[in-house]
């Protein structure tokens, strides 16, 4: 009998305690995080939902069987119940609801992505700067944050949209402008707990500039909890966008935005329930997905918050 020589697998290479290069160390760390994440079934469900959403948005043209904007015959195809031809039925303009949902996923994804891309950096920047410098910088930045925090988000967004004019782009800007303050608070709180620590003093002793310290040493420690928080907020952002759409200040008809679709369907809620319910279900599933994902991310990225 021969003994097979031990061939180091890719897994061993990633999990080694003695990485031989910068890349291996970083990949190993990422792989460990992924392994921990994978151990949480609900988080995987959440990730699955989000990945599915992205795939649907990317391949919307292939998936959707009908045109989302132009309906069918208004006399024969209005408000049809779900069937094999129309999986989720049709709406009052004789448009296929399933196709509209599929195309609407692009809008939802765009809202989510743009808000995350705009609001997160603003929040992190304001929070870490205020926390790191303290003193009057802190006072000024935090008072501004407080002003934003004092209003309910939807109301503030409403005010912005009213000023900028209705439309999906303005809705996104309004939501982004109104959603950074909690991230700034969070980033500031995290910064306060680390700015007096020895490792920050040590890097100052190496002669690093404030910008370098904030960017290279403080921000990496704040981002994980902010990312977790952003993920949890995604559900709220989708709902706010839908809410704006619902009252006619977000996406404009005939764009297939989910909130606007619910608004359009509410007149038929009793007799043609599917018109409002299908987009509602879509919002519900995606929000749930982001919540599960946030829960899983919190467990792996933010050990302090672990129950």
């Amino acid at each position: 009998m021969t003994v097979a020589p031990h061939v180091p697998s890719r897994r061993d290479w990633l999990l080694t305690e003695q990485p031989a290069s910068r890349r291996q160390a970083r990949l190993g760390q990422a792989y460990r995080t992924w392994l921990a994440f994978r151990g949480n079934p609900l988080a995987m469900v959440g990730l699955g939902i989000i990945v599915a959403l992205i795939l649907v948005a990317v391949f919307a043209d292939l998936i959707a069987p009908y045109n989302p904007i132009v309906g069918g015959d208004l006399r024969t195809e209005r408000l049809l119940p779900p069937s094999a031809a129309h999986l989720m039925g049709t709406d009052d303009q004789a448009r296929d609801i399933f196709s509209r949902l599929v195309h609407g996923s692009r809008l939802t994804l765009m809202v989510v992505a743009l808000v995350a891309v705009i609001a997160t950096p603003i929040g992190v920047f304001v929070g870490t700067t205020a926390g790191y410098f303290g003193g009057w910088v802190d006072t000024v930045l935090m008072r501004v944050t407080d002003v934003f925090l004092a209003f309910p988000r939807l109301i503030l967004a409403l005010a912005f949209v009213a000023a900028l004019g209705p439309g999906i782009e303005n809705a996104i800007i309004a939501i982004a402008i109104t959603s950074w303050p909690p991230y700034a608070r969070l980033a500031r709180a995290e910064t306060l707990t680390i700015r007096d620590s020895d490792f920050i003093a040590a890097i100052r002793l190496q002669g690093a500039s404030s910008a370098r310290i904030i960017w290279g040493h403080v921000v990496p420690l704040c981002t994980s909890s902010v990312i977790v928080r952003v993920t949890f907020d995604m559900a709220g952002i989708i709902l706010t966008a839908a809410g704006l759409g619902f009252i006619g200040l977000g996406a404009q008809p005939p764009q297939p935005e989910w909130g606007a679709m619910i608004a359009a369907g509410r007149r038929y809620l009793i007799d043609q329930w599917w018109v409002a319910t299908m987009p509602g279900l879509a919002i519900f599933v995606v929000s749930l997905g982001f919540n599960f994902l946030g829960d899983g991310l919190r467990d792996v990225l933010d050990p302090k918050a672990r129950k």
């Binding site: 392994l35 709180a189 707990t193 007096d196 620590s197 672990r306």
Partner: protein, 276 residues
């Protein structure tokens, strides 16, 4: 009757290389006395202490054939029982005070929080007790330290704030994990006096974890020596210099000595079979 009985305590952490047992079958009994635990870094001293208080960090798991505190079987204690015991009847001074103190809460509030186990005390009463305790651990201006945040304290002051926090609750069992490593020797002696008084006058049981062999041999009644998760030796503290295990002997040998010049200091050659 023994205050605490520990039989075959084991603590295991799941790792990617399979479960790793960091405490491997530790057994001892503790009366109302001072028991020292010494051993090298990573030998499982802190994990032993945490396991007794049911504070093994997840995903770690602690098991024991027997774990009895003052007639209460801790293996079968419900979360409610634990809440009644921890902080009030048994508590632990953690090794890293700067990590264990809340950085954004004043020291005074944290100490007053520890007094919640003492029935209903008025705010002023709590404050007075907290200040008295800070004074007892030799803090020079208790009023200032009471109102200070942890980062405004020196290393030794943070450590004493932590001790004060654990002692105000007057526990029956105290596990002190390197409580005096950042204190100068005169203050150290005073802190040890307080602990000593609590043991002799109030009958507290004390587990004193330390790497300072001289201190342990002069302060404690008995000493356990741990190596790689196992108890390798149990001695009367006064007989520490008679230790047999090569690890204990090596440890004693590498201490610098006030009276003799030894350059370089001898270091310890660890043998693989000590860990078995």
């Amino acid at each position: 009757m023994a205050l605490l009985t520990v039989d075959d305590l084991r603590v295991t952490f799941p790792t990617r290389q399979g479960p790793s047992e960091v405490v491997r079958g530790v057994s001892f009994t503790l009366g109302r006395e001072r028991l020292g635990i010494v051993g090298e870094s990573g030998s499982g001293k802190s994990q032993t202490g945490r396991a007794i208080l049911g504070l093994t960090p997840p995903p770690g798991r602690a098991t024991a054939r027997q774990l009895v505190f003052d007639g209460i079987d801790l293996n079968r204690a419900s979360p409610r029982d634990w809440r009644g015991l921890r902080g009030g009847r048994m508590s632990m001074v953690m090794q890293d005070p700067k990590y264990s103190l809340n950085p954004v809460m004043t020291v005074g509030r944290q100490i007053m929080e520890a007094l919640k186990f003492h029935g209903r005390l008025s705010g002023a009463d709590k404050r007075r007790r907290a200040l008295d305790m800070l004074d007892a651990v030799q803090i020079r201006d208790p009023e200032r330290v009471f109102a200070a945040y942890p980062h405004e304290l020196s290393g030794g002051m943070g450590q004493r704030a932590m001790i004060a926090m654990m002692l105000v609750a007057e526990p029956d069992l105290l596990i002190a994990d390197e409580p005096t490593s950042a204190l100068d020797v005169t203050v150290q002696v005073e802190v040890l006096r307080i602990l000593d008084r609590l043991v002799t006058d109030r009958g507290m049981g004390l587990i004193f974890i330390s790497h300072d062999l001289r201190l342990v041999s002069s302060f404690c009644d008995r000493v356990l020596v741990m190596y790689a998760g196992r108890m390798v030796e149990e001695l009367r503290a006064a007989d520490l210099h008679l230790a047999r295990h090569p690890y204990t002997r090596g440890l004693l040998n590498c201490l610098p000595d006030l009276d003799h010049d030894r350059h370089p200091l001898p270091t310890l050659e660890r043998q693989a079979d000590w860990a078995r």
